[in-house]
């Protein structure tokens, strides 16, 4: 496929000293086509953020990439190559963080922070031209009086406004892909809805692909084209969003869906998945979810299943006893 915006192949992320390191992300492969949104879901600690930071080349010691590669708009990139990544970040590949209150520099005016995203990649751009692009970018994300916002300091703006500015900065160089780590969870529901709506429109209009990291399956339902479910550093299920939400194959996905209140829910009560995810480094043989899985049999505890095609072939699942009808476990 030539219009794959971002592909991550066999990414493994480790932390800690060599020899005694723990694996935080284990052989993860993902791909997002241009203009599409991939939701990366999973409980806290499953390795979603690490996957995104690794792809951006933004891991900080002691966390590091042990193996794996990526390609961006068809070209191979090496996330461990600091020089190459410096040029790519913010230009071809952007990232948005969770808390808009913390993402903008408190002592720099907004205009400087927006223009900087342009000028660090193209120093030949004049200040006036950078400002013009900054205004345009703010208008694109639905900010009405851009001039006023540009002259403000972050603390003078609301959370929703700040997150729009952050998104404008991420999109200003028309990157092939944006990695978004739960950028709306810190906002109120109305603002969240507006921003999600605009993000979706922007992706479609500009052909920018997006990886949306979240716990929130309600967001996923309204936003994502495809879903990848992570558990303990592994992808356990992957496929088209509608299919997975309607008919999850992995018992873990089912568990996630059951623990979320949704308008069109089919289960009468909320259920949480019993137990806790394994701590990185204490992973045992067999399926990583087996200790918490109601459907686990002896075979589940001896060998870890591979991520194998399922259903009509568009879906992948890592389970030897998948829920074939999506029914209750």
């Amino acid at each position: 496929m030539s219009d794959v915006a971002l592909a991550i192949r066999d990414l493994t992320v480790e932390a800690g000293p060599k020899g005694r390191s723990v694996t935080l992300v284990d052989g993860v492969s993902l791909s997002v086509p241009s203009g599409k949104i991939l939701a990366l879901v999973g409980e806290s600690g499953s390795g979603k953020s690490m996957t995104a930071l690794a792809a951006m080349g933004l891991l900080e010691p002691p966390v590091r990439i042990a193996s794996g590669g990526a390609s961006l708009a068809g070209k191979a990139v090496d996330p461990t190559d600091r020089r190459q990544m410096r040029g790519i970040r913010g230009r071809d590949m952007a990232m948005i963080f969770q808390d808009p209150m913390m993402t903008l520099n408190p002592v720099m005016r907004v205009d400087e922070q927006v223009c900087e995203a342009v000028t660090v990649h193209d120093p030949s751009v004049s200040k006036a031209e950078a400002l013009r692009r900054a205004r345009e970018a703010l208008v694109t994300v639905g900010i009405p009086a851009p001039e006023e916002r540009l002259n403000a300091y972050p603390h003078q703006l609301s959370g929703g406004m700040r997150q729009r500015i952050v998104i404008a900065i991420a999109l200003i160089n028309r990157p092939a892909v944006v990695l978004a780590a739960e950028p709306t969870t810190a906002l109120d529901v109305t603002t969240q809805g507006q921003i999600l709506h605009e993000v979706k429109r922007l992706c479609r209009d500009t052909g920018t692909a997006m990886v949306w990291i979240t716990h929130d399956l309600a967001v996923v339902a309204s936003l994502a084209d495809t879903i990848a479910v992570m558990y303990a550093g592994r992808i356990v299920e992957q496929g088209p969003a509608d299919d997975i939400l309607a008919r999850p194959l992995h018992p873990y996905t089912r568990g996630l869906l059951d623990s979320v209140p949704m308008i069109d829910t089919r289960s009468e009560r909320l259920r949480s998945i019993p137990g806790m995810p394994p701590v990185a480094g204490s992973i045992t043989a067999g399926c990583r979810f087996a200790p918490r899985c109601e459907r686990a049999v002896e075979a589940c505890r001896t060998a870890e299943p591979a991520l194998a095609p399922a259903g009509n072939g568009a879906r992948l699942v890592r389970c030897i006893r998948p829920l074939d009808d999506g029914g209750a476990a």
Partner: protein, 323 residues
Amino acid sequence: MTLFILRRLLQGAQLMIVMSIIVFIGVYLIGNPVDILIHPAATQQQKAEIIARLGLDRPLWEQYGQFVMGALRGDLGTSYVYRVPAFGLILKALPATMELALSAMVIAIVVGIPLGLWAGYRPHSIPAQAITAFSILGFSLPTFWVGLMLIVLFSVDLGLAPSGGRGATVEVFGIPLSILTLDGLRHLMLPAISLALFKIGLVIRLTRASMQETLRQDFVRFARAKGVPEHRVVVSHVFRNILLPIVTVVGMEFGSLIAFAVVTETVFSWPGMGKLIIDSISVLDRPVIVAYLMFTAFLFVLINLLVDVAYSVLDPRVRLAGR
């Protein structure tokens, strides 16, 4: 802003009043200057005359009242020893102390900030650990000992610098300065370094800690995600944030530099306020002691005010009440 400054000045005035009472009682308790001032061979009559002339026969509260009346007219008393206004003596010694304290401050900033930034950026590297060790040393070595060691090493053994005095000075707007002559600079070098050492340690530790803390912030990560080169991340994103605590602490510490100068000036016979006050204490020259302490308190009030104003200018989030 104006309101803020007015309020702070009012607070400062209150502080000065309290300070003057404490100082007056404190100085009274140190000892009776009469025993030192009057020649042992003086007759009882002469003694009584001198005591009456200095007003020392009056009760303490009356002496204090006279001091306050004088102070309000700008007269902080007359030195028992030099027989000139005490405040004039202090003003005469002020340039030497200011020159010393400012030099030490500049050294602390110029040396401390880059080292601190480096140590905070790569805290596990060997140079960073050496810098941290150095800062602990600067922190824990007593100033007088450092001064003596510098004299032993550079003046006595190597003969590179004189061990005392101000050297040749040049007058700039009527203020004598050592730093502008080669001889003066050689005299200034050792006391300034000795006085700066503690502050270098302080600035390194502060810069290092702020750097480490700021590097963990999301906005630093976001700057990197924008593709901002690493040197710019440090200089324009991190440094602009940590400038605030540095300005605050360094500014506040300037007052204590002037206070610490007492020790350094004594060790290096630097003719500043510190040396004046030590000499005055040894002969119980009360007016000079009182004038010095009041003046130092005033400097602290002034410095704190300036630091607060600087802080509000640097940090867009701070808006001083009333602006």
